[in-house]
Symmetry: C2
Subunit: 138 residues, 2 copies
C-alpha cells in the first residue's frame, strides 16, 4: 500500500435519499455515533430501517441506554470492497427516542441483536437528514 | 430475520489493547466520529495505525478539515461476518491534531485515500483510550 498518485482512485457520487433507504433496508449492522462524558464515539449496532426511522435494541444497563434516549445521534452504514476499493456509505442524523412496547412493529420487523444477553430497550433514531455516497471504480 | 430467542446468539469478549492494535494494523478503513454544528456523526476514512496513533488524510476544504483539528474524536473499526454473525470492533478515542509535512512518516506508511481528489491535510488521532470486543459464535 502506498499513496502514489499513479494509483487509480475512484469517483465519489452522492446518493439520493431513496437510494440510501434502499441500501439501509438491505443492511443489518451499522455504527451509532453519539456523545458521552468523554466526547464523541461510535459503536456497532444491529438495526432495522424503514419509513424514515431506524429501530435498534440495547441492554437497559448499557452505556447506550444511559446516553442515547433524548440525544442527538447518527447511524453510519457502509459496505466496501477492499479489492476494488469501491463501496458506499450512508449517514442518518437525528434524535433518539425510547419506544414503548405497544408502539413496536411486529416481531419480524424488529432488529435482532447478534450478541447474547437481554436487550430489552428499544430505541428509535428519528431521522432528520439522510446522506450517502457511492465510491465507483476509477 | 427475526428476534426469536431460539436464535443462537454469540458471546462478547473484551479485547486487550495489544489485540486491538494488531487488528488495526491489518485494517485500512474505519469511521471517524466527531461533532459538528448539528451534533455527532461518523464518516468512513482510510487510515494507518501504528504506535498509539492513527494517521489519515482529508481534503483541506472538507468538513473533516473544518471540524477535526483540535477536536475530540474517535475511530471505530470493525469486521463482521454476516453469515456466522461473528466479528470484532475496536474503538479508539482521543484528540485530533494536524501533522506538519516534516513530521510525516515515510510514504509507504501513510494512508491511501480511496476516492480521487487531493487530500493534502494529514491528521493524527492521538489516542487516549483503546477498547475492543470480539463477538464469538455461540
Amino acid at each position: 500500500m502506498n499513496n502514489d498518485d499513479r494509483w487509480f482512485q475512484g469517483h465519489l457520487k452522492d446518493l439520493d435519499p431513496a437510494e440510501c433507504w434502499e441500501l439501509l433496508a438491505a443492511s443489518e449492522v451499522g455504527r451509532i455515533a453519539y456523545v458521552d462524558d468523554h466526547g464523541p464515539l461510535a459503536l456497532p449496532v444491529t438495526f432495522r430501517a424503514s419509513d424514515g426511522s431506524v429501530l435498534f435494541r440495547v441492554s437497559a444497563y448499557s452505556q447506550l441506554a444511559r446516553h442515547l434516549p433524548g440525544a442527538d445521534a447518527a447511524l453510519e452504514v457502509d459496505d466496501f470492497d477492499y479489492f476494488t476499493r469501491t463501496g458506499w456509505s450512508v449517514l442518518l442524523r437525528g434524535r433518539v427516542e425510547s419506544v414503548d412496547s405497544d408502539a413496536l412493529p411486529p416481531e419480524q420487523d424488529r432488529p435482532t441483536p447478534w450478541p447474547e444477553g437481554l436487550r430489552s430497550l428499544y430505541l428509535r433514531l428519528v431521522v432528520d437528514t439522510v446522506s450517502g455516497r457511492r465510491l465507483l471504480e476509477a
